[in-house]
């Protein structure tokens, strides 16, 4: 049977693949001393890819690799199903992935210049991961979805360890092992679903699960959905596959950690959303509750682990675990609708909340990593001590970092984070999962404890002319002249500057531009959160439909 392939729907993938290959070729031609322009070529390619994704998605909804319509085993109307789609949701998500990759490329400038990683391979791997992410946005069957997700992850195993340090190698191995375990769990789940229903296409699967009389196989199907979901939470670093985050983020090069905590995590969210929506069936209230419990555990454990961290990236890593909990939390609202067979409009609400939170989160997280990279350049994330007094040395960078931290904590001036919190709690209250809303509330307090510790360190006046009395043991004197003010304290402070930052090395314009754009975007979207909400809602409706 001849396949009728819609190449427009696949155009973003072609563009991403072409960019990756172009970079490999360019690397052969590039003079060894001039690696910066490779990133430029890659950036241009990613920008084009993003434009293509938007163009392909915003036209009439497209789908390809379709199977001819046939009824389900249970009878009923014939259902057509396709493996790959291009619609508004792929446009929104594809654009998001391209923007994130573009930002990570810019953040990689110091790393690539420092020649501690091979520029060509590094860029190629990043672009390969983008290819996987774009494939994921369009994936509409379980096989494509899992393969796309692996395509997203596979390059990351290498990227994490690309610096060839001991920490990097250990990080890469950890990431690989946990990933293998989680993928096999997902595959087992997919196999169970196929065994019970005989379907892999998400739409047919959804129809089969909600209409088919599964009889004694029903628990098997529920287990299948559950296993797929549990395996997928690895990508967002949620409990029970969260333990890798701290070591892997800290061992990986900083831009790769930024990619892991933004683009890769967004990929996990999309995959979970696709499965969760289409796995709805009688009795799925159970796994929606399981998802809610996982979300609660994830945010609590992430926050607790972050409390004691002394290394910047580890703190951000555990904080991003906690954030994954907030991202997943609205999906617990599926419990309310799942038992009723899954009404589309009811499901779109929680899903939209999840995507909106993810959108706000990746933006603010990106700003935080951009600020850390601005300070640290090609080196690793360093310790919190090394950021102490940053407000004096580089007031604007410190202000941007403080703004990002406020956003992660969900407090003004980080209004983007505040509205993200509003959206999640609104969704939870709306779907009557009040207990989880209260868990989210409690975790917001827990999270602020360490965000404020890092923020305070930035503005520490470091034993300056305070009304000095011995501070309580273990509590170094701290001061924060405000996340809202980018001021350097008056000359009174005579403390020796921490001899850690070679300022010239750390000033890289692509990084500064990324930091500036991300911060401005966070501020603007903080005042006008509706644009994120609209985009998330539109994407959610299409993913559901």
């Amino acid at each position: 049977m001849a396949q009728n392939i819609d190449h427009v729907a696949l155009a973003p993938l072609y563009a991403a693949a072409a960019t990756a290959i172009l970079v490999l070729l360019a690397d052969l031609l590039a003079a060894p001393g001039r690696r910066g322009w490779l990133l430029g070529v890659a950036g241009l390619g990613v920008a084009v890819t993003g434009a293509v994704a938007v163009w392909a998605g915003t036209g009439p909804a497209r789908a390809t690799f379709c199977i001819p319509p046939r009824p389900l085993a249970s009878g009923g109307d014939p259902i057509t199903a396709c493996s790959f789609a291009a619609d508004d949701s792929t446009a929104v998500l594809g654009a998001a992935f391209c923007v994130l990759t573009l930002a990570v490329l810019a953040l990689s400038a110091p790393l690539v210049r420092s020649a501690s990683v091979p520029a060509g391979e590094y860029t190629f791997l990043l672009l390969s991961s983008l290819f996987g992410a774009l494939a994921l946005t369009g994936a509409r069957d379980l096989i494509t979805l899992i393969v796309a997700l692996e395509t997203l992850s596979l390059p990351l195993y290498i990227l994490v360890g690309l610096r060839r340090t001991a920490a990097g190698a250990s990080a890469a191995l950890t990431y690989l092992l946990i990933s293998v375990v989680s993928t096999s769990v997902t595959l087992l789940g997919a196999a169970l679903l196929y065994a019970v229903t005989g379907e892999v296409h998400l739409r047919r699967l959804a129809a089969a699960l909600s209409t088919l009389d599964l009889g004694p196989a029903a628990p098997l199907a529920a287990a299948g959905v559950g296993l797929v979901l549990v395996g997928l939470v690895f990508k967002v670093a949620a409990v029970p596959f969260h333990a890798w985050a701290g070591g892997v983020y800290d061992g990986a090069p900083l831009p790769v950690a930024a990619y892991l905590s933004t683009a890769s995590k967004l990929g996990g969210v999309v995959a979970i959303a696709l499965v969760a929506v289409n796995g709805l069936m009688e009795g799925s209230a159970i796994w929606a509750s399981v998802l809610g419990a996982l979300a609660a555990l994830t945010m609590t454990i992430g926050n607790l682990l972050a409390l004691r961290q002394t290394r910047t990236v580890r703190l951000l890593a555990w904080s991003s675990v906690a954030q994954a909990g907030y991202v997943l939390a609205p999906l617990a609202g599926f419990a309310a609708v799942g038992s009723g067979g899954g009404d589309v409009s009811d499901v779109a609400g929680p899903l939209g909340a999840t995507l909106a939170y993810a959108g706000f989160y990746v933006l603010v997280e990106l700003a935080a990593f951009a600020a850390v990279i601005t300070v640290r350049g090609a080196r690793d994330g360093g310790t919190l001590e090394e950021l102490r007094g940053l407000g004096r040395r580089r007031p604007w960078v410190a202000a941007a970092l403080a703004l990002a931290l406020a956003g992660l904590a969900g407090l003004p001036p980080g209004l983007a984070g505040l509205f993200a919190k509003v959206v999640v709690i609104k969704s939870l209250v709306d779907s009557d999962v009040l207990w989880l809303a209260l868990v989210v509330a409690a975790n917001a307090v827990l999270g602020l404890a360490y965000y404020v510790r890092l923020g305070a360190a930035l503005y520490d006046r470091g034993g300056g002319p305070a009304p000095v009395s011995p501070a309580p043991a273990g509590a170094p004197s701290g001061a924060v002249p405000g996340a809202s003010s980018a001021s350097g304290p008056e000359g009174a402070v005579l403390v020796a500057e921490a001899p850690v930052v070679t300022e010239t090395e750390a000033r890289s314009w692509p990084v500064l531009v990324t930091l500036g754009v991300a911060s401005v975007a966070a501020v603007v979207l903080g005042f006008l959160p509706q644009y994120v909400l609209w985009a998330a809602d539109a994407a959610a409706r299409l993913l559901v439909g």
Binding site: L411, L415, V423, L434, L438, A479, V480, P489, Q530
Partner: protein, 506 residues
């Protein structure tokens, strides 16, 4: 848009713009012009806030929220949030008080600068805090209220952590975590209401939420917890003494003077009128906790040896009276809460100014070491005596009306003369008022009348400086004016309060 809507915009935009300019001004020169700029901005804001008192309209209908001046523009359509702000008889006195205290803090800082971070950051933070507090009082949309409530959080943290005393870090962290816990509960409560009846307070207080009794009780309890942390209400008050003791003087003044009022205002503006059934069901418990707060505050004051901590614990007691007034759900009680709010803001604001000045002068706040202050610094001690007497509720001074009315309102709630919860509350609150007199007089006996101790004699006489008179004078005068003419505040709140009571009792 109602009335002179631009006044509302101005009263928020001025301090916001001032803070922004102070934050981004380049170079060291910023620190030189910051005090002048900050004070001018605070001054103009205060004048604008006085302007908000004009243009009041006559009685019309029994609407709970009927602002004289209001702004209402769409903000976040997907959440149904409108940038809806307005001023009415309940918010107007608090708005003016906020602008006044910020101005006085700015003036005070011209001469007395707390050690710590840069002066421009200090002024910027004061103005940001002012924006947050004013926004809270002016908000007529639940989400806007919540956002404004949160705005004050980090700047206040920074103010305590950046310019506070030796234990500032611990105190600031405790403050920010406690109050964040309150404000996330506020978010949950606000959304419980918003999902049932929208976020527009005007519509909500007109048509209600449509929530059933049990949902109303749930929402009310969540909101009550949120506001109780802020007010603060025993047993959620423990952040307050630490924060007050470690905060710089201006921080304590803003914290006690107006920040705490955001909690009691939330009860009067949101919790009670929007959730009348919840209010009716929960108010006896609220009254019980408020009475406990009065007594606990008083007993704690007896054991305090440090002047700022003593004033801080006295705040717990005073806010207990305010909440007792709210809990009665009667016109008398809510009026008592309104005037109690204002009086406490003025009196405790001045008390913290004086306590801060004493600590700055003598380097200690320990009462025993301050003994004999009255002989060496008679003016300072005299002012302290005057304002302490006002705080303990002497008739003729500001503190009297709120406490008296709260007790009377609680007494009136008991019907038929039987011994009820309300009688017990009224009686215990009266005992608490007497205890307040006792602990303030104990403080005065030590500080004003004692033999001059080593610390006090070693510093010589330290007169009150002109800059301090400038900051303190208005508060001392208002203490007297409000004591003699409580109608200034009561008359403003009369109609809205009647409308609230009508809404709750219907």
């Amino acid at each position: 848009m109602i009335g002179s809507w631009w006044l509302i915009v101005a009263v928020l935009a001025l301090p916001a713009a001032g803070a922004l300019v102070l934050a981004v001004l380049p170079g060291r020169s910023a620190n030189r012009i910051a005090p002048a700029l900050g004070t001018v901005v605070a001054g103009v804001t205060f004048l604008v806030s006085l302007g908000l008192l004009t243009g009041r309209h006559g009685p019309r209908g029994g609407r709970v929220v009927d602002p004289w001046h209001a702004v209402d523009v769409p903000w976040i359509p997907p959440l149904g949030v409108r940038l809806s702000l307005g001023v009415d008889g309940i918010s107007a006195p608090l708005v003016v008080l906020t602008a006044l205290l910020t101005l006085l803090c700015a003036v005070y800082t011209l001469w007395t600068r707390p050690a710590g971070g840069s002066v421009r950051a200090l002024y910027a933070l004061m103005l940001v805090i002012e924006v947050g507090i004013l926004g809270t009082f002016l908000a007529l949309d639940l989400v806007v209220f919540f956002v404004a409530f949160e705005i004050t959080l980090l700047p206040m943290y920074a103010l305590i952590a950046g310019w506070g005393g030796p234990g500032r870090r611990h105190a600031a962290t405790k403050f920010v975590l406690y109050t964040l816990a309150g404000s996330v509960l506020l978010l949950v409560g606000v959304l419980l209401i918003a999902l049932a009846g929208g976020t527009d307070l005007r519509a909500l207080s007109l048509h209600g939420t449509g929530l059933g009794r049990s949902s109303q009780i749930t929402a009310f309890v969540v909101l009550a917890l949120a506001f109780a942390v802020k007010s603060p209400l025993w047993p959620l008050h423990t952040w307050l003494p630490d924060a007050h003791t470690e905060a710089p003087t201006v921080g304590s003044v803003l914290l006690a003077g107006v920040l705490l009022k955001m909690g009691t205002y939330g009860f009067i503006r949101i919790a009670v009128p929007v959730l009348p059934e919840g209010a009716r069901a929960v108010s006896p418990y609220l009254a019980g906790f408020a009475t406990a707060a009065i007594l606990v505050g008083a007993f704690c004051c007896f054991t305090q040896v440090e002047i700022k901590r003593l004033v801080a614990y006295s705040s717990v007691g005073h806010m207990g009276f305010v909440l007792l007034g709210v809990a009665t759900l009667t016109a008398t009680g809510i009026q008592a809460a309104l005037i109690g709010n204002i009086a406490h803001g003025i009196v405790t604001g001045l008390l913290f100014f004086l306590a801060g000045a004493i600590k700055d002068r003598y380097g200690t706040g320990l009462l025993t070491q301050l003994s004999g202050l009255g002989r060496r610094a008679p003016v300072l001690a005299g002012l302290l005596g005057f304002i302490a007497v006002a705080s303990l509720g002497l008739p003729g001074l500001a503190g009297f009306w709120g406490e008296l009315f709260a007790i009377v309102a609680a007494w009136q709630r008991s019907e038929g003369g039987t011994v009820t919860l309300w009688v017990v509350c009224a009686a215990l609150a009266a005992v608490g008022a007497a205890l307040a007199a006792a602990y303030f007089l104990r403080m005065l006996r030590i500080v004003v009348n004692g033999e001059p101790g080593e610390v006090v004699t070693s510093r010589g006489p330290l007169p009150v400086r002109p800059g301090e008179w400038l900051a303190w004078g208005p508060l001392a005068a208002l203490t007297l004016v409000l004591g003699l003419l409580p109608a200034l505040v009561l008359e403003l709140g009369l109609r809205p309060v009647q409308a609230i009571v009508a809404a709750v009792s219907s």
